[in-house]
Each structure stands twice: as C-alpha cells, then as structure tokens.
Amino acid sequence: MKNNFSQPQRQSLIGVVVMFADTLQSAIRALWFILIVWILKIDELNKIYFIIGAVAVLIGVSLIAYLKYRNFTFFLDEENEEFVVHKGIWNKSRIAIPFDKIQQVNINQSIIQKIIGVHALEVDTAGSSGKEVAIRAISHDAALALKERLLEAGYKKKAVTKEFADGLETEDNHNHSFIQISLLSLFKTGITSNYTRSFALLLAFVITSFQYIEDFVKVAGYDEDPLDQYINTEVLLRFISFIIVGIMVLTLIINLVRTIVKYYNFKITRQQDSLLLSYGLINTKNTIIRPEKVQIVTIGRNYFQKRLDINDIKIRQASGVEANDKDQKKTAIEIPGCNNAEKDLLMRFLLEKIPERGIALKPSIRKIIMEAIGLLIIPLGIFFSLAYYAFPSIMEYAIFVPVYVLFVAIMIYFAFSHSRLFVTDDFIVKQSGAWDIDNDFIAPHKIQTISLTQYFWHKSSDIGIVTLHTAGGTISFGLADYTRLKQLVNYWLYQVEASPRNWM
C-alpha cells in the first residue's frame, strides 16, 4: 500500500504555484479598482514607488500562498469514518465529511494545474449546493487513489447489505477502458449539431442588418429606397448570399471548435459498477455516472448524424440538491459522437438492456393546430395588430413573415411526424424533435409522480397530456388519446407500486 491517507498530509509541494495563482487572482479581484487607477496614471506615478508597490503585493501574495499551503492538510479518519480537512491561516477550520455523505468526487484540471502537472480534487456532498471541499493541488496517482478510497468507503457504508464488498479489491485494480471518442467523431458531431440555433442566429442577423440598412438610408437622406433603384439587384443578391454563406461557415467553425475544446480526448472507463468520464482540452473534467442514479437517458441525432453513424447521448442523474427543470437540463452529462455499437454498450450498462421500441402512441392531429396557434397565429396576430395600431414602422418587417411562417410550419410538421411514445414493459421511450430527433428513455420504476392534464376544449375529442416526473427531470407527451393514456397511467402506477425496485 503506497499511501493510505491515514496521516494528515499536505498537498503537492508544487501546489504552492497553484495557491499563488489563486491568491493572486483573488487579490486582483479585490484590488481591481486600484489597479485600474494605477494603470491609467502610470505616467504620473513615480516608477520606483510603483515597482516597490508591485513587489510588495507579489511578496504578500506569495507569503499568503505559502501559508495557505502550509496550513492545508487532509486525511482519512477511518475510525470515525470521516474525511477531514484542516485549513485557514488566521481562522483555522476543521471540516469533516462523513463518508456516507459523499456524493461525488471530481478530479479536474485547470490550465495552470495542467502546466505544472497537478490535479484538483473536489468532494461533492449531499445537502449543499456548492463543492464543500477542494484540494487544489494533488498528483494524479494520489488523486485517483484518494478518490477511490473516498467513494469506496462511502459505498461500503451505504450498502452494507449488498454483498459486493469482496469483489471490490480485485476489480478496483484494473479499470477497464470502456469507450474512447475519437477526434473524428467529435469532428462529425461539431459540423452536424446546433443547426436550428444557427438558423435562428442567421435570421436574427439578417433582420438586424436589414434594420441597419434602412437606418443608413434614412440618415443618408435618400428619398427613395436605394435597395430598389441605386444598387444593382444582382450585386446585392451576390452580396447577401456571400454574407449568408459566410455566417454559415462561421457558425460551423464555431460549433466545431466548441465541440472539440469541450470534449477533446473523451474517455469513458468502467470502475466497479460506475462509469468514469474524463474530457476537455483546456479544462479537463471528470465525472462519475452511477447507473442507479441515472433517471433519464436521451439519445439524439439528426439526419446527417444518422448518415455518419453518430449519436449524442445525454444522461440526467438524480441531483442531490433540489433544482428546477431548467437547471437539470443544463446539468445533463453529454456524451457526443458515439457510434451505434458504443451507444448500445452504454445503454446496456446504464439501463441494463437495450430498450425495444414496442407499441407506438401517436399524437392527435390537434397537436398541429395547438402548435400553429401558439407559434404562428398568436405571434403574427400580435405583430400585425401592433403594426396596425401602434407602430406602423415595424410593418417593414412583414417581408420576413413568409420566411418565418415557412420555417415554423416545416418545423411543426416534422415535429408532429416524429412525435411518438413507445411503451414496453421495461421502458417508456419518447421520441420528439423536428430536425434533431431525441429519444428519451425512462424505466418505469424511476417515475416519481404522474400527472394527466386536459383542457376543457379537449374533453369532447378525448385527448390529453401525460407528464412523468422523475428526480432527473420531466417528460411530457401529448396531445394523445386520453383513454389510452389513462390505461397507461394505471399500468405505470401498478409497475411503480407493485415493484420493490427503488428509483435510486
């Protein structure tokens, strides 16, 4: 046993550099106002005083950094089953985290940590939103060993009844590499994702530049719109298509760079019965996925991605902290660029088996009408009534109405034709989306609450909406045959109530 962490110990010595960077950063944050004054008046200031001042600050920061390093110790208290951290220069504090309160241990690397070759280890506990304890500089081996020990200790205590403690030691030692996402897959994902958002950006850009041209025309004092007369239509069209193609290429490149920077070197390893994810070019991130905590698995792909055999997998776990639905969507763990074989491997691990589609439930045609009212009739009604009664000037934008109507109508139509709910004994699968088609997978025993909603004008046509709440977010499906939905709800309730399986 190389290091069992039972004695109080300091961080890596080189960690002083990280401490220094941290302290300098907070010093700058605290003193930025003075710094700006200094920089502005740099010519008037006596150079010697300035240098002395700067040196004094640097020495102060180094001293604080060193003391921070000296006074930070951590160890595992096996007797009391706690992870203990001592820290503080003036105000000493002792933080003890019981093993069974540890939710997750993350190992991350910022750019400074990467340069000097250390890692940060953060301990996430139940019951608080922030990371309670962070070790700022620890060598990779020590970080892995400590993480293993922390999680293992917590696991053992939590699951005394489960009899996997014996197999733990042997399995721990060799972590199987599970999946590695290649640069090519990331490239494929980068150039095929976020089209809808790019299109919306494009439209917004065209509208604003239109506005800009109009303003320019007014200021320049032309009586007539030069778009019609002074500028050759052909030149203008060429210019506009050049701009549009330019924006398309730009968004493509931005998406590509964003994807690669965020997910570079995406590695998934299997550790005991959880998955360890690590990825990132500038900041390396580490996350753990435990199958029993997974609530919703979403597999998304669009037409191009289907052709290129890549899937985008999003995993939503039960969060220790209360979060609203929006936050949970944000905290979903994303695995980009998996091919079908990798996807199946992950699905088998996370959901125990590869879900079959089963019987499909289609939405009612009234869904199209509802969405047309919500996205076309109401916004256009507001637009035209505003243009008519209050601001006649916005009438100029009416030329974009056909583009908007066409785009939204196509989206509504495809969203409707893709919208399905597949139900089998083991899974509920919701398929949705117009261009990017998402499949949300839920196992019935993950359901917390079921609600059924029906507007009074839907009563006569017997349609309604079903919503399944889980600890990792909600899934809604509608408008569909209400009688059928009620049958399904009764069936799911039976599954939840009769099965001893817990949701976590």
Binding site: A323, T449, S451, L452, Y455, N490, L493, Y494
Partner: protein, 175 residues
C-alpha cells in the same frame, strides 16, 4: 426462487384511478377563498379610488377602467368557483390522487413509495375555519409535489399519520 411465478398481467383488470370517487374540499374552504379574494380586490379597489381622487387626468377614463375591472373580477370569481368545484383528492392503498384546475384539469398521482416527506400547513384565515393544508413532497421537484388545501384539521392530521405510516412501511419493506 420457489413459489415464484411470472404470469402475464391483465392490463384491463388493473385498478383504474379515473374511477375513484374523489373527496371534494371542505365547504368552509370556499369562505376562505372569498375572504382572500375580498382582501386582494379590496386593496386594489381602494388603490384605484385613491388614484382617481388624486390624478385628475385619469377621471375621463373612469368608464372603460371600471368596466374592465368589473369584467376581471367577475371572471376571477367564475374561475375560482370552477377551480374549487374541480378540486378533489383521494387516498388509495398505494397512492394519493389530487385533481385541480379550471381551464385545464390536471390529475396528479403520487405513489406512497415515492413520497419523501409530508408537511401540514395552517394559513392565518384557514385556521379560523379549522382547516389545514397537506403538502406531499417527492424527489421529482416542485411540479411533482401536491398541495391539498381545505381539509379539516383533524382529517389532515389523520392523513399525515397515514402517509407517514406508509412511508415507514415502504422503507421497512426495502430492507
């Protein structure tokens, strides 16, 4: 594995939540609603009166403003009444059912083995009428919780005991 059977279940024979007779809220709760209503709209009316008294420019518009206000009040009275009528709850062997809503009718069902905890609230006005509110929490976030107002205090206490008993029993079963 002895005595283990795995018969196909007859989904048509499953108990149907939609056939359960729901208990309506206590009639006194309507009084609580009206009192709250009177308070809110009373304050708005007084504020409007003060505004008309001090701001002379507003006075020519008294007729459209009053008509709008009366329409809004009547509409809210109607909606409150409908939503009171629609509200109902039931506690089955394995789950709690709550129905609410005016324009849309929502039925929410929480299985007891997913309940995290139960809270009992007493509002200021509701207490005068001997009423309480039961709130049932799950791990599914705000929207998956149910709040049942307008239950008689004693009844609410009993419900809370029942739910707590169920939670403990479910936990014992898991061990």
């Amino acid at each position: 594995m002895e005595g283990y059977t795995n018969e196909p279940i007859n989904t048509a024979a499953l108990p149907r939540f939609e056939d359960v007779e729901l208990t309506p809220l206590h009639p006194s709760y309507l009084k609580v609603i009206w009192l709250n209503f009177a308070m809110v709209y009373g304050i708005i009316s007084i504020a409007a009166g003060v505004a008309f008294y001090f701001i002379e420019e507003l006075r020519p518009y008294w007729l459209p403003i009053t008509i709008c206000y009366v329409v809004i009040v009547l509409l809210s009275i109607f909606i409150s009444l409908v939503s009171f009528r629609n509200k109902g709850y039931a506690f089955r062997t394995h789950d709690a059912i709550y129905r609410s809503g005016a324009i849309s009718l929502t039925t929410t069902i929480i299985p007891y083995n997913r309940v995290q905890h139960v809270a009992l609230h007493e509002g200021f006005i509701a207490r005068a009428f001997g009423l309480a509110q039961i709130e049932i929490f799950t791990a599914g976030g705000d929207k998956s919780d149910i709040q049942i107002s307008g239950i008689e205090k004693q009844q609410a206490e009993k419900i809370k005991q029942l739910l707590m008993g169920k939670i403990i029993k479910e936990e014992a079963n898991e061990e």
